[in-house]
Structures are given as C-alpha cells and as structure tokens.
Symmetry: C2
Subunit: 148 residues, 2 copies
C-alpha cells in the first residue's frame, strides 16, 4: 500500500494523517495474511523508533470500525486483522488454517438471506459475518505450510 493511498483513506475517514497510522496500514498491506495487535507492534516498532501498544490497539480498532481492515476470527483469544488489497466491492475471505494466508471470496449469497428474513419475519438485516476456513491450494499440495 502506497503512502498516498493510506493518506487518502485516512483523510476520507476524517482522521489525521500521522506516521503511526500510515505505518500500521503499510505493515498490514505488506502481508498476505492477518496479524494480531502485538504482531503489528513488533513489526512497526523498529520503523518508527517507538510506539505504544495502546496506540496500535486504538488504530486497529478505528480502521476495523471503518471497514478498512477486517477482523479475522480464530480460536486464539486475540483479535486478528487483515488489510485486503481489494478495497472495492463486497466480498469475504478464505483463511488458510495452515499458512494463515487470506484469499478473497467474491461469492456471497446474503442478498437472498436478507430478502428471506424480511419476507418471513419482517426483520431487517444490518450486517453479517462470513469467514471461510480451510486449507489453501499450496498447503494442500504438500507444502506443509508454516504451522502456527
């Protein structure tokens, strides 16, 4: 992710463009997989001289609320975040349990579900969580993958 791109996103969110925010977006943008708050922290510390872990939490939370980054659900007790290169269009993610790689999943049958809920019980859908877990192509093909 280019600096101008992260700056543009931050401006659009009416957040100040600060080195910390940009560095966190750059850090996540460099990865093909998700990271936890402390993993992000370890990676950007050397680049920034110093940064507090609470700042990392605050920024990750802001970006996740804004929808710029996605929360990945795992059985560990941590929150994990992924910055998708594809910021356009509604889609979801396929998460490899072996190598932590995240791939896009375009298909999402949720429009039908929303219609069903409205029709059947008069309810209204405001959001949904969809995450596909599995083993990615390269891990299936004998690459053992880096086990967590």
């Amino acid at each position: 992710m280019e600096p101008e791109q992260s700056a543009a996103i931050l401006k659009q969110l009416k957040l100040k463009v600060t080195p910390r925010r940009q560095e966190i977006m750059n850090c996540l943008g460099r990865e093909q997989s998700y990271l936890s708050a402390d993993e992000v922290w370890e990676r950007i510390k050397p680049r920034l001289g110093s940064i507090g872990l609470p700042t990392v939490y605050r920024i990750l939370d802001e970006l996740a609320e804004a929808g710029v980054i996605t929360r990945i659900f795992l059985s560990d007790r941590k929150q994990n975040y992924f910055l998708c290169a594809n910021q356009e269009g509604h889609h979801h993610h396929f998460v490899c349990e072996s190598c932590r790689r995240v791939e896009d999943v375009e298909q999402c049958g949720l429009e039908g579900v929303s219609r069903d809920i409205a029709r059947r019980s008069g309810g209204r859908v405001t959001s949904h969580i969809l995450q596909i877990n599995g083993i990615c192509g390269s891990c299936c093909q004998g690459h053992a993958g880096a086990a967590p």
Copy 2:
C-alpha cells in the same frame, strides 16, 4: 430441552451425564437468545446450590467444540452461546441486535463457495462462520425491544 434429550446428547459425546452439564443445557435451552458464561452462571446457581464459574466455562467450551451450542459473535469482549432448538441440519443464525433473539436461517450458499475455492485455487474448505445481524420482526414493528 428435556433431561433425557440432554443426557442422550452428552452420552453421544462420550461425556458423563452430570447435573451441571444437564443444567447448563437446560438453561440455554429455555432461552430464545444467547447468554454469556456469567449469565449462565447466575441462572443456574440457585438451581444447583453451587457451581463454580470455571466449570461453566469448561462445559460451555466442550459443548461449543462439539457443535451442540453455537458461539455468537458480538462486539463485547465476551463469548456468547446459543443452544438451538433445531439440532438437525446445517443452518445459521439471525441475531437481533435489539432484543438478542436468535432465529434460524436455513439458507446457506456455502456449497457453491466451497466448490469455487476447490476449483480456483485447489484449496479445501473445512469450516465456515456465518452470522446474520439485524433487527428482528417484532423489534422492527415498534416494540422497542430490550436494548442491551
């Protein structure tokens, strides 16, 4: 949920049929909505005389791992659990953000997604998370609903 039913489920999981386990299943079975560990604890304490919170955590975790109860994802920091009356067939849940009611969602377009992932990248889907959030029919119709 009847005692024989909970006993049968526990036997099938090769877990001993104990009063604590049955009471937790009964407690969740009585609800139309999800509960957190401490909420379950508060409700079953008077019925059992005494029970430790760690026991509640252990049992909820066992049941969730076994697929008997479903974890509900919320922005609070807690794990929330729901025991679905419908234990048959693959389905998901519609969670009302206003009154916490949970309804079944039969439709799930995931077979197609699995096929796509296998075809495109050679990956394999092992599990998925799908939860629909919104406002249920009765909350939409002016019933303000018990706000959390």
